[in-house]
Symmetry: C2
Subunit: 97 residues, 2 copies
Protein backbone atom coordinates (compact mmCIF):
# COMPACT_ATOMS: atom_id res chain seq x y z
CA UNK A 1 0.00 0.00 0.00
CA UNK A 2 1.32 3.45 -0.82
CA UNK A 3 2.95 5.79 1.68
CA UNK A 4 0.04 8.22 1.13
CA UNK A 5 -2.44 5.61 2.40
CA UNK A 6 -0.27 4.65 5.38
CA UNK A 7 0.07 8.32 6.30
CA UNK A 8 -3.71 8.83 6.11
CA UNK A 9 -4.36 5.72 8.21
CA UNK A 10 -1.93 6.94 10.86
CA UNK A 11 -3.63 10.35 10.89
CA UNK A 12 -7.15 8.94 11.21
CA UNK A 13 -6.23 6.37 13.84
CA UNK A 14 -5.22 9.18 16.21
CA UNK A 15 -8.62 10.88 15.87
CA UNK A 16 -11.13 10.56 18.70
CA UNK A 17 -14.21 8.28 18.63
CA UNK A 18 -13.15 6.24 15.59
CA UNK A 19 -15.36 3.16 15.16
CA UNK A 20 -13.62 1.75 12.10
CA UNK A 21 -11.42 2.46 9.11
CA UNK A 22 -11.64 0.69 5.74
CA UNK A 23 -9.31 1.15 2.75
CA UNK A 24 -11.18 0.37 -0.48
CA UNK A 25 -10.03 0.10 -4.08
CA UNK A 26 -12.08 1.60 -6.92
CA UNK A 27 -13.63 -1.78 -7.69
CA UNK A 28 -15.27 -1.59 -4.24
CA UNK A 29 -13.03 -4.21 -2.62
CA UNK A 30 -11.86 -3.65 0.99
CA UNK A 31 -8.09 -4.15 1.01
CA UNK A 32 -7.49 -3.20 4.63
CA UNK A 33 -9.99 -2.81 7.46
CA UNK A 34 -10.45 -2.58 11.22
CA UNK A 35 -14.10 -3.75 10.87
CA UNK A 36 -15.17 -7.41 10.73
CA UNK A 37 -15.30 -9.07 7.33
CA UNK A 38 -19.05 -8.71 6.67
CA UNK A 39 -19.09 -5.02 7.62
CA UNK A 40 -15.95 -4.35 5.58
CA UNK A 41 -17.44 -5.92 2.45
CA UNK A 42 -20.72 -4.00 2.87
CA UNK A 43 -19.13 -0.63 3.55
CA UNK A 44 -16.58 -1.03 0.75
CA UNK A 45 -19.21 -1.83 -1.88
CA UNK A 46 -21.72 0.83 -0.80
CA UNK A 47 -19.21 3.59 -0.26
CA UNK A 48 -17.66 2.87 -3.65
CA UNK A 49 -21.07 3.61 -5.23
CA UNK A 50 -21.39 6.84 -3.28
CA UNK A 51 -17.80 7.97 -3.98
CA UNK A 52 -18.29 7.31 -7.69
CA UNK A 53 -21.56 9.25 -7.72
CA UNK A 54 -20.02 12.22 -5.87
CA UNK A 55 -17.02 12.31 -8.19
CA UNK A 56 -19.28 12.19 -11.25
CA UNK A 57 -21.72 14.85 -9.97
CA UNK A 58 -18.93 17.30 -9.11
CA UNK A 59 -17.29 16.78 -12.52
CA UNK A 60 -20.61 17.16 -14.35
CA UNK A 61 -21.21 20.50 -12.62
CA UNK A 62 -17.74 21.81 -13.50
CA UNK A 63 -15.19 19.75 -15.42
CA UNK A 64 -12.29 21.66 -13.81
CA UNK A 65 -13.44 20.96 -10.25
CA UNK A 66 -12.66 17.85 -8.21
CA UNK A 67 -14.25 16.04 -5.30
CA UNK A 68 -11.68 15.93 -2.46
CA UNK A 69 -13.58 14.55 0.54
CA UNK A 70 -17.02 13.95 1.98
CA UNK A 71 -18.51 13.77 5.47
CA UNK A 72 -21.89 12.08 5.84
CA UNK A 73 -23.77 12.51 9.07
CA UNK A 74 -26.27 9.81 10.01
CA UNK A 75 -28.42 9.18 13.08
CA UNK A 76 -25.82 6.83 14.57
CA UNK A 77 -22.41 8.03 13.38
CA UNK A 78 -20.47 9.99 10.80
CA UNK A 79 -18.81 8.59 7.72
CA UNK A 80 -15.77 10.32 6.26
CA UNK A 81 -14.74 9.46 2.68
CA UNK A 82 -11.34 10.49 1.34
CA UNK A 83 -10.53 9.57 -2.27
CA UNK A 84 -6.83 8.99 -3.03
CA UNK A 85 -5.21 7.94 -6.29
CA UNK A 86 -5.73 4.17 -6.21
CA UNK A 87 -7.87 3.73 -3.10
CA UNK A 88 -10.31 5.64 -0.97
CA UNK A 89 -10.54 5.64 2.79
CA UNK A 90 -13.77 5.22 4.74
CA UNK A 91 -13.72 6.31 8.38
CA UNK A 92 -16.63 5.67 10.75
CA UNK A 93 -16.68 8.05 13.68
CA UNK A 94 -19.04 8.48 16.60
CA UNK A 95 -20.26 12.07 16.93
CA UNK A 96 -17.89 14.13 19.06
CA UNK A 97 -18.99 14.90 22.60
CA UNK B 1 -42.55 26.86 2.21
CA UNK B 2 -42.53 25.34 5.66
CA UNK B 3 -41.27 27.11 8.77
CA UNK B 4 -38.53 24.47 9.03
CA UNK B 5 -37.12 25.51 5.63
CA UNK B 6 -37.36 29.23 6.44
CA UNK B 7 -35.56 28.64 9.73
CA UNK B 8 -32.77 26.71 7.96
CA UNK B 9 -32.39 29.43 5.32
CA UNK B 10 -32.11 32.08 8.00
CA UNK B 11 -29.47 30.02 9.80
CA UNK B 12 -27.39 29.40 6.68
CA UNK B 13 -27.58 32.96 5.41
CA UNK B 14 -25.79 34.17 8.55
CA UNK B 15 -22.88 31.78 7.97
CA UNK B 16 -19.61 33.16 6.61
CA UNK B 17 -18.42 32.74 2.99
CA UNK B 18 -21.75 31.55 1.59
CA UNK B 19 -21.71 31.52 -2.24
CA UNK B 20 -25.26 30.33 -2.75
CA UNK B 21 -28.24 28.53 -1.26
CA UNK B 22 -30.74 26.41 -3.21
CA UNK B 23 -33.90 24.77 -1.86
CA UNK B 24 -34.74 21.69 -3.93
CA UNK B 25 -37.73 19.35 -3.91
CA UNK B 26 -37.27 15.59 -4.20
CA UNK B 27 -38.02 15.70 -7.92
CA UNK B 28 -34.81 17.72 -8.29
CA UNK B 29 -36.56 21.05 -8.95
CA UNK B 30 -35.11 24.24 -7.42
CA UNK B 31 -37.95 26.03 -5.67
CA UNK B 32 -35.92 28.85 -4.14
CA UNK B 33 -32.37 29.94 -4.91
CA UNK B 34 -29.81 32.71 -4.56
CA UNK B 35 -27.91 31.40 -7.63
CA UNK B 36 -28.75 32.32 -11.24
CA UNK B 37 -31.29 30.18 -13.05
CA UNK B 38 -28.85 27.93 -14.97
CA UNK B 39 -26.74 27.18 -11.90
CA UNK B 40 -29.86 26.56 -9.79
CA UNK B 41 -31.25 24.04 -12.28
CA UNK B 42 -27.89 22.22 -12.54
CA UNK B 43 -27.23 22.07 -8.82
CA UNK B 44 -30.79 21.02 -8.03
CA UNK B 45 -30.77 18.11 -10.48
CA UNK B 46 -27.26 16.86 -9.63
CA UNK B 47 -27.61 17.21 -5.88
CA UNK B 48 -30.93 15.40 -5.99
CA UNK B 49 -29.12 12.40 -7.51
CA UNK B 50 -26.44 12.52 -4.82
CA UNK B 51 -28.91 12.98 -1.95
CA UNK B 52 -30.95 10.04 -3.21
CA UNK B 53 -27.85 7.85 -3.49
CA UNK B 54 -26.65 8.78 0.01
CA UNK B 55 -30.06 8.11 1.53
CA UNK B 56 -30.27 4.73 -0.22
CA UNK B 57 -26.70 3.68 0.70
CA UNK B 58 -27.16 4.53 4.39
CA UNK B 59 -30.50 2.66 4.49
CA UNK B 60 -29.02 -0.37 2.69
CA UNK B 61 -26.23 -0.58 5.28
CA UNK B 62 -28.65 -0.39 8.21
CA UNK B 63 -32.40 -0.05 7.76
CA UNK B 64 -32.74 1.67 11.17
CA UNK B 65 -30.18 4.38 10.35
CA UNK B 66 -30.87 7.64 8.52
CA UNK B 67 -28.83 10.10 6.48
CA UNK B 68 -29.08 13.50 8.19
CA UNK B 69 -26.59 15.72 6.32
CA UNK B 70 -23.57 15.71 4.05
CA UNK B 71 -20.62 18.01 3.47
CA UNK B 72 -18.69 17.58 0.21
CA UNK B 73 -15.34 19.26 -0.13
CA UNK B 74 -14.16 20.09 -3.65
CA UNK B 75 -11.14 21.96 -5.02
CA UNK B 76 -13.12 25.21 -5.28
CA UNK B 77 -15.70 25.16 -2.50
CA UNK B 78 -17.73 23.06 -0.11
CA UNK B 79 -21.26 21.83 -0.66
CA UNK B 80 -23.53 21.20 2.32
CA UNK B 81 -26.64 19.08 1.79
CA UNK B 82 -29.39 18.97 4.41
CA UNK B 83 -32.41 16.76 3.70
CA UNK B 84 -35.68 17.90 5.26
CA UNK B 85 -39.14 16.36 4.94
CA UNK B 86 -40.30 17.74 1.58
CA UNK B 87 -37.19 19.56 0.38
CA UNK B 88 -33.45 19.50 0.80
CA UNK B 89 -31.15 22.46 1.10
CA UNK B 90 -27.92 22.87 -0.87
CA UNK B 91 -25.42 25.40 0.47
CA UNK B 92 -22.27 26.38 -1.43
CA UNK B 93 -19.58 27.78 0.81
CA UNK B 94 -16.06 28.99 0.16
CA UNK B 95 -13.54 27.29 2.42
CA UNK B 96 -13.14 29.16 5.70
CA UNK B 97 -10.01 31.25 6.14
Amino acid sequence: MSAEVEEMLKRFSTMKNIVGIVVVDYDGIAIKSTLDNTMSVHYAAHMQLLTEKARQVILDLDATNEFTSMRIRTTYFEIILVPLEHYFIVVLQNPCD
